[in-house]
């Protein structure tokens, strides 16, 4: 009983901070989402409008488009990071000359702020001055212009995200792989299992919790991507890279549509929770159930 009380006392500062900086703002956003509120409208006051904003969102083509491109971005980016990250983690499990230097260089993108990453990639991809379009043209005769080609802009952003975040995936998977006991692998080899069988039946199930945790982190990060995209394409060309974070930013800040912008934020939070729950149910829950 006494230790329980001590626990609450120790937790109290965190809970207070969480309440004021996490829960309270969220409640306020939910409250605003039921209002029409644009300070530059003819009536700048907050007006309660029931669920009008939520009804509007269902028919909002720009929002639905932004959700669509975000889902595509999350799928391609996170999947690529997982695959590339796994192979890199496996490579780092082995000894090779210059491994320490390579591993340090490989993790450098992680320490860069997203806005810097966006700036660097903008410099690298701007037609005429960027190194990537220059060499693509010189070596392969390929004309690359992220200002005019929607698929190119989208692919560039996926590539930029992969470059930025794969090191995180690699590091978490290295940690998972290092912690695996050698016995099951030795046993499988004695029983004549090949590499693919070992991967599917031993390695993957054993590192699944780490994979799921990594995917959760990357999924949530990718869903709120704004800075890099803002810097690189501004959401263009057209709406090709107007991800949901960029869409919310444009709705809330330049357009000052606080009410509707809050509604979009609430819906996006809900979609993120649902996506994470689905991921948990499909990837981790069956394992937990089997164990039970």
């Amino acid at each position: 009983m006494q230790s329980n009380k001590l626990g609450w006392i120790l937790l109290a500062p965190t809970l207070v901070i969480l309440f004021f900086f996490g829960v309270l703002p969220f409640i306020y956003v939910v409250y605003v989402s039921f209002h029409s509120w644009n300070p530059f409208a003819a009536n700048p006051d907050m007006v309660f409008n029931w669920a009008d904003n939520f009804r509007r969102i269902v028919f909002d083509e720009e929002f639905l488009n932004s959700v669509g491109v975000t889902v595509m971005f999350v799928f391609f980016a996170v999947l690529s990071e997982l695959i590339v990250g796994y192979f890199l983690a496996q490579a780092f499990m082995k000894e090779f000359p210059g491994k320490a230097i390579f591993r340090t260089i490989h993790t450098l993108p992680l320490i860069m702020a997203p806005i810097i990453v966006g700036s660097v990639w903008k410099l690298m991809t701007t037609p005429s001055i960027g190194i990537i379009p220059h060499y693509l043209d010189e070596w392969f005769g390929i004309s690359m212009n992220i200002g005019t080609s929607a698929p190119t802009a989208f692919a560039t952003i996926v590539l930029m995200d992969v470059w930025h975040w794969t090191p995180l995936v690699t590091l978490t998977l290295i940690a998972a792989l290092v912690s695996l006991p050698p016995d099951p692998f030795e046993q499988a080899q004695i029983d004549g299992a090949n590499k693919r069988q070992i991967f599917w039946h031993i390695t993957l199930p054993m590192i699944a919790p780490a994979v799921v945790a990594t995917v959760f982190i990357r999924l949530m990060d990718a869903l709120r991507t704004v800075d890099e995209v803002w810097m690189l394409t501004g959401g263009g060309p057209g709406s090709a890279t107007r991800f949901v974070g960029v869409h919310i930013f444009k709705e809330v800040f330049p357009k000052t549509n606080y009410g509707y912008g809050s509604t979009i934020s609430v819906i996006v939070l809900y979609l993120t929770i649902v996506a994470c729950w689905l991921l948990y149910v499909t990837m981790l829950a069956p394992r937990t159930k089997k164990k039970g």
């Binding site: 530059f40 005019t148 263009g236 060309p237 057209g238 090709a240």
Partner: protein, 477 residues
């Protein structure tokens, strides 16, 4: 005798100037006495004029008065974001905010700003002897209310001009080739047809001679509002489409069906022409905002283009940044028939008169001290060096200063044009819903740029979206 007379006159002049400067210094010191220890905070766009305030004027003022001034220079988007949030929430972080000419009406509608005329009238002890609203050019009118009260101290003003390369236009070989191809002399264009002809000629000339040279610039970013602004502020007016095609007097109509011109034949012709220019501009144009257009021109990659005046200075004179120093000329933008006559008659305009002022937020906790600083930067005395460091003119007598006149030569007569032809240009229309309509229509605009929508269909959709947004905001009944 003559020498003695000259010496005596000079001594008298120096002593008058020195005495008056001393008297002025005395005013600032005395007026600042109640505000010792105060720190003023301002937020502005990171532009050459603003950097001059931060690096030169703020330290000078601090040395003179003891009032510290911290000027935060940031990106255009961030500047508005920070200022609006501060004024909306009433936190009072900022004592001075940059007001771009096009946002002033939104700020006034929300009572965000202090009436500086009234503040000085109510506090005569604050009024600097060297500050006078009458010193400002007519650009200050954009920051006044109906009663002529000033809500922002003008700090930068420039027009978006037609820049051209004098070295290329004056090259005998190029002139001969142009004449042979077109049958006319190579001179700056006055019509869209001429402009397009020159643009096509130079783009082809660059290709034929393996040069990184194109015939025109284009501020045509496919995901940034800079392209929207280029079209509505610089291109559409030259075809006779004014105020974004919205008729405020006619229930804020945007579509032709309701009395607007956003999707008029002239608007469609303007867009088609502009896109055709974009297609022969340097390849970076679809990723270019106003900054990159200046960079493109300064790098010598375009023979002509519409460039914001704030960039004209460094393009024409800064050898460290520009490759075309001494080779820049200025002209009025090319126009459709009847547009110049309409502008002369005050019924239209030929381009964008850009600029901004420093305003005093109603939420500021140091209004009086901030008003002192605003007067300091509005004095005639500080203007010439500022105009040389960054090509902007806000006070009438700045044009006559020898330093500014020398700079005018370097800029190919830019200041003369600003002074003599500035009245033909106009700032943004007096809409309190500036950013809202822009953002509501921008996604469609970008679709036109990348070809997802045709010009006609796209402008029809934009007009419909503008009207829907105006209805939603409660302006259109």
């Amino acid at each position: 005798m003559n020498f003695a007379l000259k010496l005596g006159t000079s001594a008298l002049a120096i002593s008058v100037v020195a005495t008056s400067a001393y008297a002025d210094d005395a005013f600032w010191r005395k007026a600042a006495e109640p505000y010792q220890g105060v720190t003023l905070r301002g937020v502005t766009e990171s532009s050459p004029p603003s950097l001059y305030i931060r690096e030169v004027l703020a330290p000078q003022f601090e040395e003179l008065t003891g009032i510290r001034v911290d000027v935060e220079t940031t990106s255009w988007d961030q500047m508005f974001d920070k200022a609006i949030k501060d004024m909306e929430a009433g936190t009072g972080i900022y004592d001075m905010v940059y007001i771009e000419q096009d946002i002033i009406y939104s700020y006034l509608a929300r009572d965000f700003l202090v009436d500086t005329t009234q503040l000085l009238a109510d506090n005569p002890a604050l009024k600097a002897p060297t500050y006078d609203e009458a010193n400002f050019t007519t650009f200050a009118d954009y920051f006044e209310d109906a009663e002529g009260h000033l809500y922002g101290i003008p700090m930068e003003a420039f027009i978006k001009v037609y820049l051209y390369r004098t070295d290329l236009f004056g090259d005998a070989e190029i002139q001969a080739a142009f004449k042979a191809e077109t049958g006319r002399d190579l001179v700056p264009a006055t019509t869209h047809e001429e402009y397009a002809e020159i643009a096509r000629f130079f783009t082809k000339w660059g290709e034929d001679h393996d040069l990184d040279l194109w015939g025109t610039t284009a501020q045509a970013h496919t995901g940034h509002v800079a392209s929207w602004y280029e079209y509505y502020e610089s291109i559409a007016p030259t075809f006779g489409v004014y105020n974004w095609g919205i008729d405020a007097a006619n229930n804020y109509a945007a579509s032709v069906a309701n009395g607007g011109t956003m999707n008029s034949d002239e608007a469609k012709e303007a867009m088609t022409w502009w896109l055709s220019m974009r297609d022969i501009a340097p390849p970076e144009s679809p990723a270019s905002t106003w900054t990159e257009v200046g960079t493109t021109f300064g790098a010598g990659r375009a023979a002509q283009g519409l460039v914001y005046g704030e960039n004209a200075g460094w393009i024409a004179a800064d050898k460290e940044k520009s490759l075309v120093v001494g080779n820049v000329g200025v002209a009025l933008p090319p126009l459709a028939e009847g547009v110049m006559e309409a502008a002369e008659a005050g019924e239209g305009y030929i381009g964008y008169y850009d600029g901004g002022a420093f305003g005093l937020p109603s939420t500021s906790k140091q209004k009086e001290a901030a008003m002192l600083f605003l007067q300091y930067i509005g004095q005639n005395e500080v203007q010439p060096d500022w105009a040389v460091a960054a090509p902007r003119v806000t006070n009438k007598n700045t044009y006559d200063d020898p330093k500014v006149q020398a700079m005018n030569e370097e800029l190919g007569g830019y200041y003369d044009m600003l002074k003599d032809k500035g009245y033909l240009f106009a700032g943004a229309p007096a809409y309190p819903f500036h950013a809202q309509v822009r953002e509501a229509t921008a996604p469609t605009f970008y679709k036109i740029l990348i070809g997802d929508l045709g010009v006609s269909e796209g402008l029809d959709e934009m007009a419909a979206k503008a009207e829907a947004e105006l209805t939603n905001l409660g302006y259109r009944k």
